[in-house]
Amino acid sequence: MIDLKSLMQPHRIVMMLVFVGFAVWCAYALRWDWLPKYAPLALYGIWTTLWLLVVTVVLGFLLAVPLGLMQAVGPWYLATPAKVFCTIIRGTPLLLQLWLLYYGLGSLFPQFPWIRSSELWPYLRQAWPYAVLALMLSYAGYEGEVMRGAFKGVAKGQLEAARSFGMPRFTMFRRIWLPQALRNVLPTLGGETILQMKATPLVATITVVDIYAVSSRVRSDTFIIYEPLILLAVFYILVAGLIALGFHWLEVQVLGTGRRTQ
């Protein structure tokens, strides 16, 4: 992918030296003695951030497919609610949605005795279900709009060919429509997933301990400000890079040679 020769350009060498210099300076000039103490908590935070991201992206996307389909070809009584949902989600801050769910629903539920006595209560009194719900709905709202365009963007003749051979509707959706729609928006979805990653720190505001919450804890406990933030930035950049690589791999695998359009 990246060959050594293209890296060995003078301006790139200078940039790399600057970066190495910065890393060395960070290692020697800054304080890292707090690390061993907080390492277990940081690992827990990393784990929380990652599973929140994966779970909400997967669930949100599963919701986005029907949302997109309803808007693209659904009858008005399905298209309108889907459109309203996507508009509200995309038109309001995620922080607001998160707080409405956590402080709104979260304070509404305890008023009903049957909820308090239900099997679900041990979960509903925690913060993470509200974090999952808010992030999932947010991803679904944005991707629902993306999928609407993706479904509409598939050439009519492709579906007509399937229909003309008597392909049942669900088979057509599974074999022709969805694969072609996905192929059109895979690069967009990669970018949106990175945006979703960058939205996860908001859950720290409702007491979920993700990696961002851990860095805040370190700051308030030790009054060390920059070191945890620098590490936090490195973590997010690494994850963003992994997401980008993952989607690039998917594009090559899925799109392959068929990508060229007519």
């Binding site: 060919a161 003309s164 008597g166 392909m167 049942p168 694969p179 072609q180 007519q262």
Partner: protein, 265 residues
């Protein structure tokens, strides 16, 4: 019935030999009435060429036969089976129409090969996922069909890497893979560069020679005259004239047909 048909073996033209029967077909798009009562019968082994100017309704008629367009009214019988329709002309039995469509293979003007699949995958798609033929069997057959249309070495190629003529030949292979009782050709050469038309016509000519039942909407008059055993001339949504090609092309009776033939010659 005003659709006297010239059939090679007209003595045996019994009811069950009628592959396609269209009766009094009407189709409107909003205010515009495109088909104003068309009736047509094609028997097994017939090659029916449908000609006419643009906007005469020939493609619409073909597309109504497999219900890609919903007729406004009329009766359509495929292989002796009457298609169940609502009062508004839409098919009322989705399973029936899906089943009937598997017997009618369509070849489109724009080829419409599935761009995300290789030629081989295009050809086995319907046999495997609609007709439930075992995959290994479908693959063997697909290779034979691709070989037959001269694309034996392109099985793993994607449609975008092929010329229009090659794509259309692959589309014909895809249509043959379902072993259709009738093939519907919707202007199969109209989107092709002139030098690519010949290779597609050669394939269609072979199919006609082996006795396939075909409905062919075309602008290639010489070709229609050569392969068809019945020619239908549509003018503004009605059948203006029809008959054996020698009659229709050699001795046209209607002035409109004369004018049409002289304008395309």
């Amino acid at each position: 019935m005003d659709t006297a048909k010239a059939v090679a073996n007209s003595d045996e033209a019994s009811l069950n030999q009628e592959a396609i029967k269209v009766e009094d077909l009407h189709k409107s798009f909003g205010q515009l009435e495109v088909l104003k009562g068309v009736s047509l019968t094609a028997c097994k082994g017939d090659v029916v060429a449908i000609i006419g100017g643009s906007g005469s309704g020939k493609s619409t008629m073909l597309r109504c036969i497999n219900f890609l367009e919903t007729p406004s009214s009329g009766k359509i019988t495929i292989g002796g089976e009457l298609v169940e329709m609502h009062a508004d002309g839409s098919p009322s039995n989705r399973r029936q129409i899906e089943r009937i469509r598997t017997r009618l293979a369509m070849v489109f003007q724009q080829f419409n090969l599935w761009t995300h699949r290789s030629l081989l995958e295009n050809v086995i798609e319907v046999p495997v996922h609609v007709l439930k033929v075992p995959k290994s069997q479908a693959i063997v057959r697909a290779h034979e069909l691709l070989e037959r249309v001269g694309l034996g070495d392109k099985a793993d190629t994607y449609p975008a890497y092929l010329s229009g003529g090659q794509q259309q030949r692959a589309a014909i292979a895809r249509a043959l893979a379902v072993d259709p009782s009738v093939m519907l050709f919707d202007e199969p050469t109209s989107a092709l560069d002139p030098e690519l038309v010949g290779e597609v016509l050669t394939v269609i000519r072979d199919l006609a020679a082996e006795g396939r039942t075909m409905l062919l909407v075309t602008h290639e008059m010489k070709f229609a005259r050569e392969v068809a055993n019945h020619v239908v001339y549509l003018y503004e949504g009605r059948i203006e004239e029809q008959g054996p090609p020698a009659e229709v092309f050699g001795n046209p009776k209607s002035d409109r047909l004369k004018q049409f033939l002289s304008s395309v010659a």
